[in-house]
Amino acid sequence: MRRILWFLLAAPFLLAFPACGGIDLVTLPERDSVQLTIYNSADLTLAREVRKLTLQKGLNKLSFGWANTLIDPTSLSLRAVEHPDQVELLDVSYPPGVNSEAVWTVRSEIEGEVLVEILFFTSGINWRAFYQATLAPDEKDMLLEGFVRVTNGSGEDYDNAQTRLIVGRIHLLDQIAELAQRSEPFGRPGMAVPVPPAPAVFAERRMAKAQMMDMACEMVAGAAVAPKEIIKEGLSEYFLYTIEGTESIPNGWSKRLPSFKPVRVPVVNLYKYDDRRFGDGVVRRLLYFKNDKDHHLGKTPLPDGQVEVFRALDAEQHLSFEGSQYVKYIPVEQEAEVDLGSTEQVKVEPKLMKMATDRYTFNADKNVTGWDEREDWAIEVKNFRDLPVRVEITRHMKHPHADPVKPAGDCGQFEKKDAQTLRFTLDLQPHETKTFKYTITYHEGKRRDQR
């Protein structure tokens, strides 16, 4: 790492206030390993370093500096991995007038090398999932490929870091980037914490392109021939993706890694009509599949991300772009919906064919107190595609005070979804048109309680 600096100060400094100008540099310890746990629901990365410190018996001062990085100083912690009973952290001081520096006071009962673990949050590193789906020409299945893309904008180069990605929605009180920019780590008493503007230094400090390319070449040279595996496991409400081996991600660079091996997933093409949800006259094309074994998935949830859907046109692998959508997180065994947008290839046209009122009731003054209102609807469904399609039509009733609905004609599968929602699901052959009818008799006024 370039920006994070470590110093082990001489013990006598404890006896007086450490002078800002006079650092008695004893050792600059090397980092043994680094692990990055990167979250995608927040700008947050948990960094864990292991370093070997040479401690003296008695009191030791350790200085940790992070100028021009995006480290949250309130998250800093240190613990001895070896001899935890003999190495005690007494306090952490953030000295006055010195930005981006913490001094740990450590009491050691042993003299010599001790492995310590330093843990902190940083912002500026993020990852996202995205998918590429290629529909078969008959649209009965698709080849689904999943990727993760890790981007390092933290101001730090992370070399040979064990990289882990967290899928899940975390609750944070403060933005790590804001905590990283505070002039006093925990703010000041009795006043709002001022947040200085983001340092421009990151842009200035960007590496020269040639240097970055060198690093990139090193990355490639050091990479294994086969794509790296991502090991996935559940922890609490999160899924932890651990990328095989280590990764070097220089500041400013991104890296794309396959999230899982390409799989052929059976899909259902569903055309939906729901005027309340999508608008009047709009038919949306949606792809459905389930994150389960039957669909050659189902080992882990699929993180939310953009799905780009293509369609294979011919044997020469020409493609057409069908649409894209940012899909929600898909738990194991839950159905996934990819909305490819509105289409003119399937049309649904509900028409009110007749409206009539009947069974009026009157009060003693001969005023109307109740009546029935009958609506006759005809729904015409047209498939202009060369492929068979399934169409789901959702109709909303004005209110639930009505007689049971009995459709007529080829309405496919009919269900009353709730007290005032009707749903019809039809299959249509290529270029087929179907029409079905239903009647709703609403009870108004006094008739609502006279059934």
């Binding site: 948990l46 998250s75 952290l89 306090d91 001081s93 944070l172 609490s236 003054d365 309680d449």
Partner: protein, 376 residues
């Protein structure tokens, strides 16, 4: 305390009487300071107590206490003799014009070295409390650490001083002006925790399909501040809590953070950690009709009941069990006709269902009730 910004001068009264306040002559040597105590038990104000030895002459002495570059609540300043208590008489306290100072007039029957305690509320120095919890991999236990964060922006450097809280042991620390210091306050390991999901019908969407993003089900950890549960020695101060979890590979992941208020002994600490997207709750109204309608002589409806049925489906897509608390609301006067599960009535219109979910479970709760005596 470093005598940079606080000054104490003891002089004879005769000098004060003959001189205008703005040009007061301050005589005698500065008394040395004994240990200072910083009391942080009040979340808003910090009380500083310092002991000094005043060399007093026989007669009336004036003790001049002034400060510069620090902010002191001057009404809070107190002088307490620790020896010669019966001999020394504090005659009065006066505040010179346009000065950050006060003058005590102290009468001494004979010359003596009086040990006194001066206490005052000092601004811009306070403490925060932060917590760090590490949950076991199975989320049944938590190791809890509490850190004290001392923030000194008072303008005063404190050499080695005793720092007192309202519980726990005192610390001896030096803290400079502008310095923030964090130290471990207490650590308790193996505290039992409860993990609960919560879904509230009043605030959560009933049909998650209609929502663009996943509808997260809030997840809470609950700890009890009681002796039976490993705590209960003192109230826990409010502060930020960051919770990690052991990952089974010798490392941890960060689960989330929350802010807590004061948790008295016997009370519980509830931490909102984030949202689960592996539990999905859907709710729909499957019946909604007027019944028992009553009309006036004009045949207008004046009173009616409304029969409703609510169906709630909870799907656990995880391969682990869990507990979810569903909160339902039935406003006004109502009667439950049939309910598929037991509930706690939290108040007249709030019902809570606690439901244990098995791995990959799907549970449906149906409430069939009548809202009574409604008026149009």
């Amino acid at each position: 305390m470093n005598p940079r910004h606080l000054f104490i001068i003891v002089s004879l009264l005769a000098a004060m009487a003959a001189t205008p306040a703005s040009a007061r002559i301050k005589l005698t040597a500065l008394p040395d300071r004994a240990a200072a105590i910083i009391r942080l038990d009040n979340p808003t104000f910090t009380l500083v107590e310092e002991e000094r030895v005043l060399t007093l002459q026989q007669g009336v002495n004036q003790v001049d206490f002034s400060w510069k570059g620090v902010s002191i609540n001057d009404d809070s300043i107190r002088l307490t003799p620790l020896n010669e208590k019966d001999q020394l008489v504090l005659l009065n306290v006066s505040y010179p014009p346009n000065e950050a100072a006060l003058v005590w007039q102290v009468s001494a029957p004979q010359a003596c070295n009086a040990r006194v305690r001066i206490s005052y509320l000092l601004m811009n120095i306070d403490r925060l409390v932060t917590y760090k919890g590490v949950a076991a991999q199975d989320e049944s236990k938590l190791n809890l650490q509490s850190h004290l964060v001392l923030r000194n922006f008072s303008g005063e450097d404190f050499a080695l001083s005793k720092i007192l809280l309202n519980y726990g042991e005192a610390f001896e620390k030096a803290v400079r002006d502008g310095e923030t210091k964090q130290l471990l306050f207490f650590q308790k390991n193996g505290l039992p925790i409860q993990k609960t999901f919560k879904w509230d019908a009043r605030s959560k969407p009933w049909d998650p399909e209609l929502v663009q993003d996943n509808v997260g089900i809030p997840l809470y950890y609950t700890l009890h501040n009681s002796k039976e549960k490993g705590l209960g020695e003192n109230a826990l101060w409010g502060g930020k809590v960051r919770v990690f979890q052991q990952d089974g590979h010798g490392s941890t992941i960060f689960l989330g953070e929350d802010a807590i208020g004061l948790v008295p002994v016997g009370d519980k600490m509830e931490l909102y950690m984030g949202d689960s997207r592996d539990i999905v709750v859907k709710q729909k109204k499957t019946m909604d009709r007027m019944v028992n309608v009553r009309r006036n002589t004009d045949q207008n409806v004046v009173l009616y009941d409304n029969e409703e049925q609510i169906e709630t489906t909870i799907e656990n897509f995880k391969d682990k069990p869990g507990t979810i608390v569903l909160t339902q609301s039935i406003p006004g006067e109502w009667e439950m006709l049939k309910c598929s599960g037991a509930y706690d009535l939290k108040d007249h219109e709030t019902l809570e269902f606690s439901i244990d979910l098995k791995p990959k479970d799907r549970v449906t709760v149906v409430m069939h009730y009548t809202r009574k005596n409604l008026r149009p």
